[in-house]
Amino acid sequence: MNHWIIAPIVLPAIMAPILLMAARHDVVLARIFSIASSVALLGIALALTTMVSDGIIVTYALGNWIPPFGIVLVADRLSVLMLLLTAGLALAVLLFAIDGSDRQGRHFHALFQFQLMGINGAFLTGDFFNLFVFFEVLLIASYGLMVHGGGAARTRAGVQYVAINLVGSTLFLIAVGMIYSVAGTLNMADLAIRVPKIAAGDQALLQSGALLLLLVFCIKAALVPVHFWLPGTYANAPAPVAALFAIMTKVGAYCVIRLYILAFGADAGVASWLAAPWLLPAALVTLVLGMTGVLAARRLGQLASFAVIGSMGMLLVAIALFTPASLSAALYYLLHSTLAGAVLFLIADLVSRRRPGQDDAMTVAPRFAQLSLLAGAFFIAAIAATGMPPLSGFIGKLLILDAARDSANPALIWSLLLLTSLLAIIGFGRAGSTLFWKSTGEPGHFPAAPESNTLSLVAIGLLLAGSVGLTLFAGPLTAYLDATAEQVFATRQYIEAVLGNTVLEGGIL
């Protein structure tokens, strides 16, 4: 058994208590440990990527208890891709945070490691009760990170964030219970085998459980009508935390991909493609609402939040088509939108710090320090986020449009996608011209940048370079993502990897 699979969970789980106990009073030591852990996570994710890149699915049975009775971790192309994205994003965000914002409150680095542990666990787990447990791990860390630094508005937003997520956790448990009560299993691969055999009388319970679970994932993914928590949370969270949260919405998207293709996909009998008729309309409305929000935003942080909602809509439109081509496009867009969303929050924070009194409100104000540098960064990020050529957003959108050609109503999807792109371009254009362009002509000057911020700029540069990299290597990357999508749709391979290859012939069941 290959023990490296569990390393992305164990490493932050060990590092966080060390940070709490040994490095509590020494911020330099905490930063060194934290960076070392994130670099190691990136290395592990790269090693796992080479391990699964030839298409094998590696499983890890905890305590050597045989699935479906024991806990199992599964590393396939999709989950390792998500691990790699998390590790890369975490490293960039951490570089930004150690430039000063980690000192605004206590235990930033320990909470950050716990957050990574939860996210990595959610990507790796092979059963949905542990998915619940890892959701709780990442949520409880995110509660701490969300109110990092304190402040009246932030704690109020924090209470709302905790409350909505506790309701979400309750619904998650009810859904898990409903599915367990008819399927008798919590293992996703085992569930995939049992779903087609569920009696007609139990289908109602099974399907309502599965749809309730979809609602929970949609809360995480901030889909309409359960998106309302996101703007308040992200706009009030500290910038590095908001940037890290860009991956949290993707956890919801990942769970939708995993569960509704594996267990409620083509082979699910009566319950086939259960999620599709609900997901597509919700995703389209989310797209319109998010991009309209971009147009209406009055602060840069708000604009970034609504851009995240809009991009989640776009992403779930592609997922909801449930074809290998659309999933491949969705994965490309997922990589792109995580980086683009994160960098917008970081830029908004730097702008806000340079304009005391105005913060990141979209007002015409005098020049501030490093205006042209930040304007350039915002320009690149905006091109990526709105999906203009030549950057990765454009390629992602093109792939999604191409995949939507064969769908049931391509005209609707195409027109909404293109219309919302226009809204986004207007919104971002207005924000950029107000904040950066018109401000150059105003008399007066804001004070110089209060502290050195080389690392912050490096972090922003890294994320933007990631977006450029996605564009430059789009060819090999899409080939890899095509293979990933095909592997996700080859559910038989997943089931055999988890439960052994006798199980589908009716061996132990």
Binding site: Y143, G151, T155, R156, L166, S169, V176, G177, Y180, S181
Partner: protein, 113 residues
């Protein structure tokens, strides 16, 4: 017994949902606690209700109760206990910093609930 359990779950859920929709943080916290109790009972019922049956294998048993939901309930209790503690602390902090325990942060003068 089925009626007793299902009506208990229903009552707890209804009371929980009502309290969550209140405007102040204290009822919201109570409502979340009630909802988590309802969930725990519900999870317990997913293994089917049986009387006087052992959960682990024994030679004398003439039937078993499902042990897995009980393990799930245990996990869920621990997690919901921790989460309730977190939200109590956050609500208290929010009350002290905002001077109001309204979930949307309205001040006392504006509040007529």
């Amino acid at each position: 017994m089925e009626f007793l359990l299902s009506s208990a779950i229903g009552l707890l859920t209804a009371a929980g949902v009502y309290l969550i929709l209140r405007a102040r943080t204290y009822p919201v916290v109570l409502g979340l606690a009630l909802l988590s109790y309802a969930t725990n009972l519900f999870l317990f019922a997913t293994g089917r209700l049986v009387l006087d049956r052992p959960p682990v294998i024994s030679a004398l048993a003439n039937g078993y109760t499902d042990p897995l939901p009980q393990a799930l309930v245990l996990t869920a209790i621990v997690i919901s206990f921790g989460m309730t503690a977190v939200i109590v602390v956050m609500a208290l902090r929010s009350y002290l910093e905002n001077g109001s325990d309204h979930v949307d942060g309205e001040t006392h003068s504006e509040d007529r609930s």
